[in-house]
């Protein structure tokens, strides 16, 4: 089974990379992009029966820095 973890900078934490992407989109002529936030997706192949709680523990211990990042887990 797979677990997919989305890690994003928390709202309120400045994202200079997202801001640079927003500027680049503007210079390509895409008007009206008001905000860009850049995050990452981490895909895990995990043993059958792995619970979302275990993946949450992985996020808390390593995959996300909860001082600045939030995460969402999708199990499939």
């Amino acid at each position: 089974m797979k677990a997919r973890v989305h890690v994003m900078l928390k709202d309120g934490v400045l994202d200079p990379q997202g801001e640079a992407v927003r500027h680049a989109l503007g210079s390509l002529g895409f008007d009206g992009v008001e905000k860009v936030r850049q995050g990452k997706v981490i895909e895990l192949d995990v043993a059958d029966g792995t619970t979302e709680d275990t993946v949450r523990e992985m996020c808390e211990k390593l995959l996300a820095n909860t001082v600045i990042e939030s995460y969402q887990i999708e199990m499939s």
Binding site: V13, P16, N65
Partner: protein, 222 residues
Amino acid sequence: MRAAVVVFPGSNCDRDLAVAFRDAGCQVEMVWHKDTALPDNVDIVGIPGGFSFGDYLRCGAIAANSPICAEVKAHAERGGFVLGICNGFQILTETGLLPGALLRNAGLKYICRTVPLIVGTSDSVYTSGYTVGQEIGVPIAHHDGNYTASDEVVSRLAAEDRIAFRYGDNPNGATADIAGILSENRRVLGMMPHPERAADEKHGGTDGKAMFSGIASALAAA
């Protein structure tokens, strides 16, 4: 006094840090990241700069979970001294020994140059050789040195006189110009600039030297 310098795959300031400790009169041992114990009677642990584990995932995240870091944490919790420089500072925030986090530089560029620092406190073994408000020149070399923490944490750091160094001319967008901070017991220092690269005439500057001589004399007396 005895110092240990931790080496991770990708550390590149470990030997410079060892030389700075040695020149100040410390006995230095290098410690590998897989080691599960620090040398006996170590007074201070140095966490060097570099790109531990290739900065994969987040700068310092994987190093912070290496076997030796559990020992470094225990050493700090027993009241031991820990100095984290650059990647070492990132690692210390990832372990939770220091609050906050280091984000990508606001200008998105890697910056490598000597910058002015303002000494924020002389109340620590690291900064006792400086005077409050003194301006010193110390090199920075980082891509992710933009210190961030909640307003509450930043006010607490300021109120408790734990901001060891501020940038004179903020190069990376760091909150409140913070370049280095102390732990609550003032024994753990994390800083982005490299004092070990300003500790010998041949470096082109010696403004970092007082940090190592301060550590050596304070810990020799202890």
